[in-house]
Symmetry: C2
C-alpha cells in the first residue's frame, strides 16, 4: 500500500503508536485531571508537561497553548473570539482568502448571516493570495476589520501563502490575524512567536497524533472569549474534561516532527524529480502552483480532460491512496473552489488528483511507485477515451 493522502490525515507516528500501546496496557491512570486525588493529579501533571513540550516546539508560551478537539473547533473558536471583540468595537468586516478551507468559509458565512461583511481576497493563477490587496484594504479601512483569515499553506495545492507579509500588515494596522496553519505545522518549520499571528491551529490527526485533539495557539489569552463553556479547565478558556490521552499524543507527535522536518529537503527534492519525470512523459500535465513554494510533499496534478476520480480509482486498484482536490463526496463534483479562484479551466480542474506525502516518508520509493501508477493510469484512461 502507498499512502499518499497526508494532507487529509496522517497515520499515527510510530512513537505515538508505541506510546499508546504502553499507555493503554498498564490499565491507567484514567481519571479526571481536575480531581484533586493522586490519580487526577498524575494526569494533570502529564497534561502540563505536554503543554510545555508543545509550547517549546511551536515557539509559544505554555499559556498560549489551548488544547481542543482539532482545527475546525480552533477555527470556529478564533472567529468567535474575534467577532465578539468586533461586535463590541464596531468592527464588522472580515477578510478571508478565496482559497481558505471550507471550515473557514462556512464560519465566515455564519458571521455574514449575523451582519458581518465578508470580503474575499483574490488569489493569482499560482494559488497565491494577493497580499498587496490586504495591504491596500487595511490602509483604507483597518478600523472596521475584526479579523483577517489567510491560511499558511493551501490544503489542495500545497502552495505556501505570503503569511509573513500579511502578518506584518495586520500588526501595522492593529488588526487580528488568524492563520490556518493546519497544513503547515508538521510539514514545514514554524514558530508562533516569530509568526506574529494572533491565532494559529494544530490538527492532531494531521501530525500523527490521535484524531479528535488539537491546539489553538492564542497570542493573548487574556482577550480570548471561549467557545465551549465550562468551569476551570484550560484556565477557563475551554470547558470540558481534557482529552488527556489525545494531549499526550500531541506532545509525542510534535517531538517526532522535529525529526521528520529535518529531512524535508530530501522529500522536496524527490517531489521535484517526480514532477519533472511526469511532465517529461506527459507534457500536457498541469501542476497547480508549479513554480511556487509548496509543502514539500504536495502535488496537485491534472491531465486535462481526464476525470480525477477515474485516476483515483485506477491508482487505488494498484494500492495507491490519493484524493481528488476536494473532499466532496459527490460522484460529479463541482470543481474545487480553490482551482476556481485560480481561474483554472473546468476541464483541468475536474482532472485534479492530490498526492500528499509527509511524516517520516522521504519520498524516493513512494514517488517512484506513484509515478508508475500514474503513468499506467493516464495511459489506460487516454486509451479508452475516458475524456
Amino acid at each position: 500500500m502507498v499512502y499518499a493522502d497526508y494532507n487529509s490525515s496522517s497515520p499515527l507516528t510510530s512513537q505515538v503508536g508505541a506510546y499508546l500501546q504502553k499507555r493503554l496496557s498498564g490499565g491507567g491512570p484514567y481519571a479526571n485531571p481536575n480531581s484533586l486525588h493522586h490519580a487526577g493529579r498524575q494526569i494533570m501533571k502529564k497534561i502540563e508537561e505536554s503543554r510545555h513540550i508543545c509550547a517549546e516546539i511551536l515557539g509559544a508560551k505554555p499559556e498560549q497553548i489551548l488544547f481542543n478537539s482539532g482545527s475546525s473547533e480552533g477555527i470556529t473558536s478564533a472567529f468567535h473570539s474575534c467577532c465578539e471583540y468586533g461586535r463590541k468595537n464596531r468592527k464588522k468586516h472580515i477578510l478571508i482568502s478565496s482559497i481558505e478551507h471550507h471550515a473557514v468559509i462556512r464560519t465566515a458565512d455564519y458571521y455574514s448571516s449575523k451582519g458581518f461583511v465578508i470580503t474575499q481576497i483574490p488569489a493569482d493563477s499560482n494559488g497565491v493570495t494577493d497580499a498587496e490587496y490586504i495591504k491596500s484594504f487595511l490602509r483604507r479601512k483597518s478600523k472596521g476589520v475584526s479579523l483577517v483569515s489567510v491560511m499558511a499553506a493551501n490544503n489542495e495545492t500545497g502552495v505556501v501563502q505570503p503569511y509573513e507579509k500579511i502578518s506584518a500588515f495586520c500588526r501595522e494596522n492593529d488588526v487580528l490575524y488568524f492563520c490556518d496553519t493546519a497544513q503547515l505545522i508538521g510539514k514545514l518549520p514554524f514558530n508562533f512567536e516569530e509568526s506574529g499571528f494572533d491565532f494559529a491551529v494544530v490538527s492532531g490527526h494531521k501530525i500523527g497524533a490521535l484524531p479528535g485533539c488539537g491546539i489553538l495557539l492564542i497570542k493573548n489569552p487574556l482577550l480570548f472569549t471561549p467557545l465551549i463553556l465550562g468551569t476551570i479547565q484550560e484556565k477557563g478558556l475551554r470547558g470540558g474534561t481534557q482529552n488527556y490521552i489525545g494531549i499526550e499524543t500531541l506532545a509525542i507527535a510534535l517531538e517526532d516532527m522535529k525529526h521528520s522536518i529535518s529531512h524535508i529537503d530530501l522529500l522536496r527534492a524527490s517531489r521535484e524529480k517526480f514532477e519533472k519525470n511526469l511532465k517529461e512523459k506527459f507534457p500536457c500535465l498541469y501542476i497547480a502552483g508549479e513554480i511556487k513554494e509548496r509543502l514539500p510533499g504536495t502535488t496537485l496534478v491534472s491531465y486535462p480532460g481526464i476525470y480525477g476520480q477515474a485516476v483515483q480509482i485506477e491508482l487505488e486498484s494498484r494500492g495507491i491512496f490519493v484524493t481528488t482536490s476536494s473532499a466532496c463526496l459527490d460522484n460529479d463534483p463541482e470543481p474545487s473552489h480553490v482551482l476556481q479562484a485560480m481561474n483554472v479551466p473546468d476541464h483541468i480542474a475536474r482532472g485534479a488528483v492530490r498526492i500528499s506525502l509527509g511524516g517520516d516518508d522521504k519520498g524516493k520509493d513512494t514517488y517512484s511507485r506513484i509515478f508508475s501508477g500514474l503513468c499506467r493510469a493516464y495511459e489506460r484512461l487516454t486509451a479508452i477515451g475516458s475524456f
Copy 2:
C-alpha cells in the same frame, strides 16, 4: 487502590482497553474517513456501524446521534442551537435548575450577557428540582421560552431529577428541553425516544470510552444549528474530521454498559447497606438526598464540622480516591452551589465528600473498604479536633 470517583471519570472498560490494544497494534487503518479511498471508506464504515450501535442502545435513530468531543461541547451546542432559534422567534427566556452543572450555568451566563433572561428553578432540601414551578411558569409564559435545562441526575448528590414530568410539561407547551444526561447514561437505564428530550448528552470518559469524545442526542436534526462549523462531516452538523477512534470506543463502552446496568440492583443494595452502617456508627452524618432515588453508586456524605478535603486526604492516604462535592481547586472552597441551593448549612456543606461507583463494580468489597477508611478518617479527625 479503591477508585470511587466514577462521577468525575470512569476508567476505560476492559473491553475498550482490549479493543484499543488490538486496534492500535495493527498499525491502522488511520485515514481521513471523508477520503474516498479504501482506507478512508473503511473508517467511515466503522463510524456508521458505531452510530447504529449507539443509536440502538440509547433508543435513538442513527441520524439523531451527533458524535462530538464530549458533554461540555454538547451543552454549549444545545444552548447555541436553541438560542439561535429563540432569537429568531422572540423567545428570550431560559429556565435552568439551580443545581445544574457549572458548564450549564456558565453557558446560561453567556446568553444572559447576550440579552436572554435566565430563571433558576429552585430545588428542595433533598436536591430535587421543583417540577411544579416549571409547570406553572410554562403555563404563564411558555411562548417566550427558548429552552428548559434540567439535568437527569445530579453529579454531586446523584439525586435523580423529575425529568419525565419536566419533559411532559415542555412537550405540552411546545418548549425545547435540554436534559444533561452525562451522569445518568451509563448508570441507569435510558431511552432517548421515550424520554421525549429535545437534546441529551453522553460523555465518553464517564462511560469508560476514551476521553475527548461524546454524543449529542438531537431529536430533530433538521432544526439544529451547528456550533463547530466545517464541511460535510456528521451530515453538516459538526465540522472537523471525526474522532473515529473515540467513536469506536463509544460503541464498545455502550455495549459494556448493557452488562453493567444489569447489576445496578446489587450496586444499589450495597450502597444502601454501606450508608446504613455509616449512619449507625456516626448518627450525626448527613447524606444528601438520602431518602430520594439516586444514581445507584453515589453517596455525598458529610460529618458536620469536618472539612471534606481533610477526609479526602485521609482516605487517599489509604489508597481510596474520592472527591469533595465540588471540582473547585481552591484550598478553602466555597461550599458547592448544589448544596447551597438545597439550603444545606455551611458547616455541613464544607464537609461533603462524594463517593461514586459505577462501571462493573458491584460495590460489595469496595464499600466495605471505603467504610473502614471513612470510619478511621472520622475517628482520627474528630480526635485531633479538626473541627
